[in-house]
């Protein structure tokens, strides 16, 4: 009995710590994005709230919470209310299996990778429901586009990770990291470079980021599936989008960059690096991917819808399949 209580207590503590830090990261990701995009366009970004606008996310959160929550009269009220919560819950529960350090993971599931992919699929429901329930043409089109995009890119995303699973011989994310650390360069990035490329492109599409942000294309659909949302519900969708970005970055860091471990060859050359805690390595890798998302947003224009579908089905999926075949052959004849 005591033991069970202890386990529950530790889990709750872990979850609170994990999600507290995670939400802080999300808040400051919005700030970082505005700063990075601003400087790319030779602007300054937020500068007024606090020194260099450092308190901007807090001001944004306060504004979003105190804004009026408008529910249009013709919406399907129940679905309208549930949709952002589905989206946010799905985005948050992804992190339950993502290990940030050695032995620091909320739930060390044996099929962690499958769980992440499955939950990412559930998140799509929030978007489709939101688009449908809003009873608006913009939202409806955004929701439809999102559904089509996510379904076609989820295939590529999952297939790009099959190569990693084949090499690690496990679906457990901690196990995948440990397996990478056995290699002298400590990453699956080099043997799985093709898979990594497919993963990054598919992750961009999966999280609705530019250059594949067709579901919320500002110039044509205003804001896509969350046009009708305001206040705290809008912020749920916003949070879900950034959380998805973080989960994809974390997945990339774990599956291709060796998670919380540093490359063994680096540690052999500079033994002092082994003193750095694992979470620092992990966060560095995640931040790099987050920056990559912002950087790509600042560089590339949006693709046309047929181009998006063509890239998904005609380029990424064949590439991922090719990658699986090559990896299997190498694994078989090793």
């Amino acid at each position: 009995m005591i033991e069970t209580l202890y386990v529950i207590f530790v889990s709750i503590l872990k979850t609170a710590l994990y999600f507290g830090i995670l939400l802080l990261h999300v808040a400051y990701a919005t700030y970082a994005e505005r700063k990075v995009i601003g400087h790319i366009q030779l602007r300054l970004g937020p500068m007024v709230v606090g020194p260099h606008g450092i308190l901007q996310p807090i001001a944004d959160v306060v504004k979003l919470i105190f804004k009026e929550d408008i529910i249009p009269s013709n919406v399907d009220k129940r679905v309208f209310a549930i949709a952002p919560i589905i989206s946010l819950t799905a985005a948050l529960s992804t992190f339950a299996v993502i290990p940030v350090d050695k032995n620091f993971v909320i739930s060390d599931m044996s099929v962690g990778l499958l769980y992440v992919l499955g939950i990412a699929g559930v998140g799509t429901y929030g978007i489709i429901f939101g688009g449908w329930a809003s009873n608006s043409k913009y939202a409806f089109l955004g929701g439809l586009r999102s559904a089509a995009q996510m379904i076609s890119y989820e295939v590529a995303l999952a297939m790009s990770l099959v190569g990693v699973v084949l090499m690690a011989e496990s679906f457990n994310l901690s196990e995948i990291v440990n397996k990478q650390n056995e290699l002298w360069y400590g990453m699956f990035l080099f043997p799985q470079i093709l898979g990594y490329f497919v993963f990054i492109v598919a992750a961009l599409a999966e999280t609705n980021r530019l250059p594949f942000d067709l579901p919320e294309a500002e110039t044509e659909l205003v804001a896509g599936y969350f046009v009708e949302y305001s206040g705290i519900r809008f912020s749920f969708y916003y949070l879900a989008e950034y959380l998805a970005m973080f989960s994809m970055s974390a997945l990339a860091a774990i599956c291709f960059w060796g998670g919380w471990t540093a490359p063994p060859v680096l540690i052999k050359i500079f033994p002092i690096l082994s003193l750095i805690p694992g979470i620092v390595w992990f966060l560095l890798k995640v931040y790099f991917h987050i920056f990559l998302f912002f950087w790509l947003r600042g560089t590339l224009p949006r693709y046309r819808y047929d181009q998006l579908m063509a890239i998904g089905w005609k380029v990424l999926i064949p590439l991922a399949l090719f990658n699986i075949v090559i990896t299997s052959l190498i694994k078989y004849y090793q």
Binding site: Q41, L42, R43, M47, W295, L300
Partner: protein
């Protein structure tokens, strides 16, 4: 050539070029001027808020009520109220509707006595329309505010004189128009000099 094209397409050379450019821009200096905190220098000949020059001797404006400014104004925003008193025209009020003004400065060019000027102030927005309709009192106050800020003793702006026309064809007063003194002491010295000239 064709192999090269295919290679650039496969290796995403164009996208990497774009990424390199944005990375370079990320670390270069931004062009933003944070306006309320830092201000850009105003160019010479800037046409800003209207003002009536306060004559340092009489303490009043110099307007003689010749109506040239009202006539030349393309947006018809200058209204002069004048009255005949003791066989003499007296300007009672001088009203400029700054919300309709197009800042062409024709009125300043036309003014023979240099009574009306456009100063270099530009921060005079108002929450109501009334605040942008300047009467004589307000216009004189504008001048005081501007002259308090101006660092030099005299103020002269090149757009006060009609451009593109030979100076010999200007009115005499326009040709002789000099920098406007801003401070009382300076003006008195000049007046003495002017009186000496004809004698």
């Amino acid at each position: 050539m064709k192999v090269k094209e295919i290679l650039t397409k496969i290796l995403l050379i164009e996208i990497f070029k774009g990424l390199a450019l944005t990375l370079k821009m990320l670390f270069s200096k931004s062009v933003t001027v944070q306006y309320p905190f830092e201000k850009r220098n105003i160019h010479e000949g800037f046409r800003g808020r209207h003002a009536l020059v306060r004559d340092p001797i009489s303490g009043d404006d110099k307007c003689i009520g010749c109506m040239r400014c009202t006539t030349v104004c393309p947006s018809r925003c200058i209204h002069i109220k004048r009255e005949k008193r003791e066989n003499k025209m007296v300007v009672i009020d001088y009203i400029i509707d700054a919300s309709r003004c197009v800042y062409c400065a024709y009125c300043v060019e036309a003014c023979p006595v240099c009574a009306l000027v456009l100063t270099e102030d530009y921060e005079y927005s108002s929450y109501e329309r009334k605040g942008l309709i300047f009467n004589k009192e307000k216009l004189l106050k504008n001048w005081d505010e501007f002259s308090a800020k101006w660092p030099a003793d005299y103020y002269f702006n090149k757009f006060w004189q009609p451009p593109g026309i030979d100076p010999s064809r200007w009115p005499k007063t326009k040709r002789e128009q000099g920098p406007v003194p801003l401070k009382r002491g300076v003006e008195i010295k000049r007046e003495v000099k002017n009186e000496q000239l004809p004698s």
